[in-house]
Structure formats: C-alpha cells, structure tokens
Amino acid sequence: MSKGATSKRTGAAAPAVAVTAGPVLEIAGLTVSVRGEDGERPVVSGLSFSIARGETLCIAGESGSGKSMTALAIMQLLPQPAARIESGTIRLRDMDRREIDLALLDERQMRHIRGDRIAMIFQEPMTSLNPVLSIGRQLVESIEAHTGLSRAEARRRIIEALKAVRIPEAESRLKQFPHELSGGMRQRVMIAMALALKPDVLIADEPTTALDVTVQGEVLELLRDLQREHGTSVILITHDMGVVAEMADRVVIMRHGRMVEQGTAGDIFARPQADYTRELLAAVPRIGTGLGRQKSAEQKSVEAELPGSVAVVNDLHVHFDLRGGFFGQVNRRVHAVEGISFSIAPHETLALVGESGCGKSTTAKALAGLVPYHGDIVIGGRNLAGLGRDQRKAVRRDVQMIFQDPYASLDPRMRVGDLVAEPLLIHGIASKEERSQLVAALFERVGLSADQMELYPHEFSGGQRQRICIARALALRPKLIIADESVSALDVSVQARVLDLLKELQREFGIAYLFISHDMAVVENISDRVAVMYLGQIVEMGTRDQVFSNPRHPYTKRLIEAVPVPDPARRRPRFARLDQEIPSPTRKIGEEPPKLALRDVGNGHLVAVS
C-alpha cells in the first residue's frame, strides 16, 4: 500500500488542487494510553473526527487535553515505550479512495507515510532543525528520502518551496545554518520542508506559539495561502482561541483526552454547546474589552512623575559586550536597552510590551539587579547606583520579581513552604514560628492551602506554582513587583484567575506592577499605562486608553493589529506584511544606534518621532 503511495509521489506529483468530497483522514475511537507508575492511564480516549481534503481542522484545548498526543498518534511518533495506541483506527485515503489504517503499519511502512503523505511542523522550530547541518542539506535530504529525484532536481524543488514560503534570497539561504535565521524564518523553513513533498495532510502543533505576534500573523497567513494553492488538509493544534478563529473551518475542542464538542468555527464561537467551551471562550482575553480598570488610574498616572513614585528609571542603558577575534577583545556590542526612562506610581500597573529581543526582559533584570546597567534606577527615592551592598539588599526588599516559567523559577529540591519562607529568612524577618505563620497566611492569601507547604514544586500544576511564586514575591511586602511574562505560560482559564489575583493584591496592598508581556490582550486587561518597546527604546508610552484607542506609532499599530481576534466573523483582512526582518540590536563598537526622541501628543501620551 505504502509503495503505491510513494510511486504516486515519485511521478510528476500532481497536486490535489480540487477539494474532493470525502475525508482524507478519518479517526475513529482513538484511545492512547501512557504507562505510568500507577498503571496505564488513557491520555486520549474514544476520539473520533475526520478531515476533508483542503479543510482546516483546529484541535483546541488546554494543556493536558491530549491534543498533542493525538497528533503524535497520527504520525505514529508516540513516546516509546510508555505510550501506545490502545484501540481505534486512523484511516488515510488517497486520491483513488484506497485506505490505509496507520495504526496497523510498522515503523518501516510508516516512514513512507511521514513527510510524504502526512507532514508535521512543531512548536519550536529551532529544536526541530538539526543545528549542525545547513538548511539546504536538511531540506534536500528530506526530499531525497521520499522521492527518486536527483540532487539537482531536489535542490530546485527546495528553492521553489522556499520561495513559496516567501523567504527572500532563497538560494543563498541554503548555505545558512538554523541559528543564523530568526524564529519566524526557521518556522517558514519548516513549513517549506513540510510542503515540499506536497503532503495530503499537514499537522501543525502549536506552530506559532513560540513566535512573536506580528510574525505569527505572517506565518498563519502563509499557511492559509499555501493550503489554498495545494489543497492540503491542515490539522492545526493550538491553545489560542484567537488562532482558532482566524484559521479554522471546523473545530474540535478537547479536554482531559476527550472531545468536548466539535463543529464549524462559526458555530463553536457563536453558539457553543458545551459548558466547557463557553468557559474557555469567556476566559480568552480580548482586545477592546479591558474595561475592568477605573478612571482613577489615569489621574494617578499624571502624578507618576512626582516624588511619590515607587520606581523611577532614567536613561537606562544595558549593553552586552560580544568578544571575538584571536585575543577575545570586545568587537561588537548588543544594545539591549538604549536609554529608556519611565516611572511607576504606587497602585499603578505599567505594562512594558514589545516583541522578543526588544529589551523588555532585560529592563526587568536591570531593575531586579540581575544585570549591570548604566543610568539611574531610583527605588523608593534611593538611587541604586550609589549604594553599598547592605543598603542595596535592603532596597531589594522593595522590588520583587515573578518569572515567566513557574516550572523553572522554583528550586525543585526545596519544599514550597521553605521557598516562600526564604525571603523572610534572608532578610532576617520574624522568628521561626512567626515565619511559618506568615507563610501559611501567604499561602491562604494566594488561594493555596497551608497543608501544601510541605510539598515540592513538582507536585503542583502550573497555575498553582505561579501562585507560589506570587506568595514568595509578596513575602517581603514589596512596593514593586516585576511580572516578566508571568502569565504567558499558563492556560487561558488559569491565566484569567492569576490576573484576577494580581489585581486583588494590588487593591489590597497598593503594590505597583511592572507588567512585561508580549500579549496585547492581556496587557489591555491589566495595565494602567503602557510603554511599547522596540529595539531597546520606548517608541510610545501613555495610558492604556491612549495607546489602545489611539495608537500613534506605526509599530504600536502593527502590534495591536497582529493580535488574532477570537471571533471567526471578524477575520482580519490580509495582514500587512513586514518585508524585512526586525533589525538586530547588535552593533559594532563605536557605532551608536540612533536615539529616538519622544514627543508629547497630548495628556502625557508620548510618541517617538523619527
């Protein structure tokens, strides 16, 4: 059977442009189980769906819903030996209506299917490309493995594919290595590789989750165009309901390994049947609905420049020197943060937004004392630059940080109670008994129970862990909490609850937040003021309303436009593409980046003039 399939490919490869009736892939009663310490446990149970030629099916769900396992089961790439298909069929039909049950194929037969008839792209394009082989070699190899094409022909096919995914200067890219390309470019290479063989089905597992929003828009649009041209069926796996609305013809909602609901995109979004779907949709942060904040926030922001500020950052520069050459002298410099200034008042949330590499996390690290900087950081009226070690430690108490990944930011070998008590211990606050009472109170405050203090971080879910991080940050009663992408790694429903907790704590303790995020919808939901960063500089800053309802800088506009709207009825028109890559902040020594001047366009709304 598979032989027939390959010979079809090795021929002149007639693309299936017309959308023919009948499903190309049909899954019935699929059950996948994973063997664990406590016996076999189903991660996907009784899943059935089908996908027609040229259709886009989105499988949506939160982490642990079994969506990725479904994809791996189709590809027969389940983690061995723990996971296996317990029952069910996965039928793949070719153009002549011949059927293959993928669940019955052995590894050798399956290799002919993979890449050739069903291709897959993964979330992280860096790890799915081999870092020591050139792009060209990897692409050519993937073609040669499935077709009888000569190397020259394979190369020609590849260049065509790279052009199709709109990679500029395709020929010269072949010699490049994965690390020389940006994340968006790498994902395009993956798509090119997947589509070069013109598969019947393309499975994309969170293909844009690791990408910036503006890049995400481009990649999604590219997928859509290519699908139209080739008639490929796409199974798109995502947790992002915005992406679902943007892309899906039909949607399957999964939870705990079971299908909760399936239907057309229009139906799912307009008339969700299952309670879970409704909850899921309600939890999705949407731009233009951030009405939660009161007016008083704006008045406060006017006072922000006054001495009452919790933190004032003035002309902050962070540079990283790159060494090279025979003697390892500094020859290039990364201008990560290039002269930014802002201030944060008590009770206020300042959001710092921008795409990866814009310097927002570096700014956070400078404030938290993790990287050396130039310029002034004034916390509670004291300039950090002039302080000795002990004084600096005292000031540190006022600034705490919550990191992005709650799995990585807690020491896995410490009990969570000790972790939360640690800041108190370090700063010599309270006796041992008082400490444990304080910690218990903190646990209760963030929505955990005091019994859980004896557990280890791995025994908690992601949302619970982020609550532990919040409790830890709260322990010292800081004036400012830096939240660096603190909700990005969480599922939307959990995300909403953690955001609510943060807001509550702000009301209660008057903490100021520096909220760093790439997600414009979340930012609109929580912030009082917003600063947009691009290439290490602030290009626009103002109150939330000023920035979101009246964005002035072109980059801000692009960022807001790029956010997928979770409503299929409001699918965006064609997305304005950026023709070149975002320039690198790395420059040669002596070459200074141009400094942007900010101009007030009214009521403290600052916009960069170039």
Binding site: G369, L370, D405, D411, I426, Q452, Y456, R472, R497
Partner: protein
C-alpha cells in the same frame, strides 16, 4: 467553584510527607541498597576484627604454606583462600588489606571529591578570572599524566599510608572538578537561581542551599566510581614501590604481587579482585539508592 474548567486550586488534600525523616529507613527498604550496606558492613567488620578472625599473622611466611616445589597452595581446609607466593595466608592478607583499601577508597577518594567539588563549584558559579584560572589549572592537571605526578609526589614525600592517600587525592580530584564545573555553570544559568538573587540571597546561600543539592547525584556517582579507581591506583603505586610499603597488605598490592602467576595460581588474583569489585559495587548500590531517595522529584505524586 462550579466552573467546568478544572480549578487550579488545591487538588490534593493529603497529609504532608516528611521527606528527610527516615532516609535510613527508606534506604534499608530497598533490597539492592540493603545488599550494598551488608557488603560494606562485612568488609568493615572484617577490617576491624581482622586479628580476631584469623589465627595467622598476615606477614608470616609459613613452611606449610608452600608445596615442596615452593608453589603456593590453592584453597584448602587450613588456608581457606589458599596461600601466596611467599606462603602467607591469603585470607588473612585480604582481611588486613581491607584496612588499607578502605582508608584509600574512602579517605583518599573523599578528599579528592571534596577538592574537586570545591574547585568545580567555585569556578562554575563565579566564572570570571577566578573560574578561568581554576579551570586552566584543572586542565593542566588533566594533561599531566596522573601516575607520573603521583610518582613525583610520592618520591619527594616519605611513603606511608596517609601520604599515599593524600597523593591519590591530589591526582584524582581533576575529573570531578571538570564535571562539577560544567554542571554548576549550567545550573547557575537556571531561572530559579536568578529568582534567588532577586530575593537577596547571598552567594554562599545560593551555593550551599540551592546548587549543592542539585549536584548530589553527580557527586555520589563520581564518589562511588572513584572507590575502585583509587584502590587500583594505590595498587599501581605499591607495584612501583612507592605505595604502601611491603609487607603491609592492601588489596591492590596483593593483585600486583601475584599477577604474573595468574595462570598457575588464579586464586591469588581472583579473591582480592573480587573483594575490590564487591566493595565498589556495594558503594555503587548505596549511592544509587541515596540519589533516588534524596531527590524529591523522584517521589510519586500519589
């Protein structure tokens, strides 16, 4: 909460566990670890009680210990493990040799581990010129043949058991330092270490409370592997005449004294060899179990 979305609030209402309580109890519950403990206990007892366990003197060359042709005796009723080339009782020599080998395997190896860990952790955490200097020195030590160095050191110093142990420690810390350095430098890049810095944790606190516990598995593995290496290095030094001075027995020098007669008298190499193997294996089993017990993430959620 009636939300159909699973709340991320407490799911487990179970009683807290005391993890440190009963490391020993959990150790003896594991059959493999128990075997290891028993072997170590037997070797230890043998070494301590050697004079009372055997009626022979370890260094006495007995007339009835050799055949009339002057060949050593295979295991028999009066010499349970046979005799060596000089007619000495092998069992007695192995029991007394256990004293030397345990000191070398535990003290020399322990000191080597300590030096290696200190150098590796310091270089890995502080980097900069301190780290650079320490690691270049380590590389230098690695490039220099360990045996040659040991010979030089042993030649300068008067050979005695303790000097030999120190010499072995001084040449054996290098690999540990390299491995610990690599692990420390990747650990200190982890986000939870950054998180510790932001709450104001001092460098010693980060090193001892947060980095060292993560290095334990590596230290344990290198520690148990090091036992056989050091015991054999001692044997090599003895063979070259700069180790433990004859006639004092050690497992290593029993093997080296007799290895040329391996075909004629295999028991002379087999028994001390088996003793080294059993000791190394025993420590390995204990180390393996300890590593699992001390790692909280290995404990199941249920």
């Amino acid at each position: 909460m009636t939300s159909p979305i699973a709340p991320d609030l407490p799911a487990t209402g179970r009683m807290p566990v005391k993890p440190r309580a009963g490391v020993w109890r959990r150790l003896v519950k594991r059959p493999l670890a128990l075997i290891g403990l028993v072997i170590v206990a037997v070797v230890l007892a043998g070494a301590i009680l050697a004079p009372w366990l055997t009626g022979y003197d370890p260094n006495e060359q007995m007339f009835d210990g050799l055949t009339l042709e002057g060949a050593p005796l295979p295991p028999n009723a009066s010499f349970w493990l046979g005799t060596d080339l000089l007619g000495r009782d092998l069992l007695t020599r192995i029991l007394f040799g256990a004293r030397t080998s345990l000191i070398i395997g535990i003290v020399a190896n322990g000191v080597a581990l300590l030096i290696g860990t200190l150098v590796g952790v310091t270089a890995g955490y502080f980097r900069g010129w301190i780290g650079g200097a320490l690691m270049r020195f380590t590389d230098l030590m690695m490039a220099f043949p360990a045996l040659l160095l040991a010979i030089c050191l042993a030649a300068v110093l008067q050979p005695s058991l303790w000097i030999v142990a120190m010499v072995i420690a001084l040449v054996n810390w290098v690999q540990t330092a390299r491995v610990i350095y690599t692990e420390t430098s990747s650990l200190s890049e982890r986000e939870f270490i950054d998180a510790e810095r932001t709450i104001g944790a001092s460098a010693p606190r980060i090193l001892f409370r947060h980095i060292l516990p993560h290095l334990l598995p590596t230290i344990i593995v290198w520690g148990t592997l090091g036992i056989s290496t050091t015991v054999l290095l001692e044997a090599t030094l003895s063979y070259l005449g700069i180790g433990v001075q004859p006639p004092t027995a050690s497992w290593g020098n029993i093997i080296f004294e007799n290895q040329t007669y391996f075909q004629a008298a295999p028991w002379l190499v087999f028994f001390p060899g088996a003793a080294i193997l059993a000791l190394a294996l025993a420590f390995n089993l204990i180390g393996d179990a300890l590593r699992d017990i001390l790692d909280p993430t290995q404990r199941s959620r249920a």
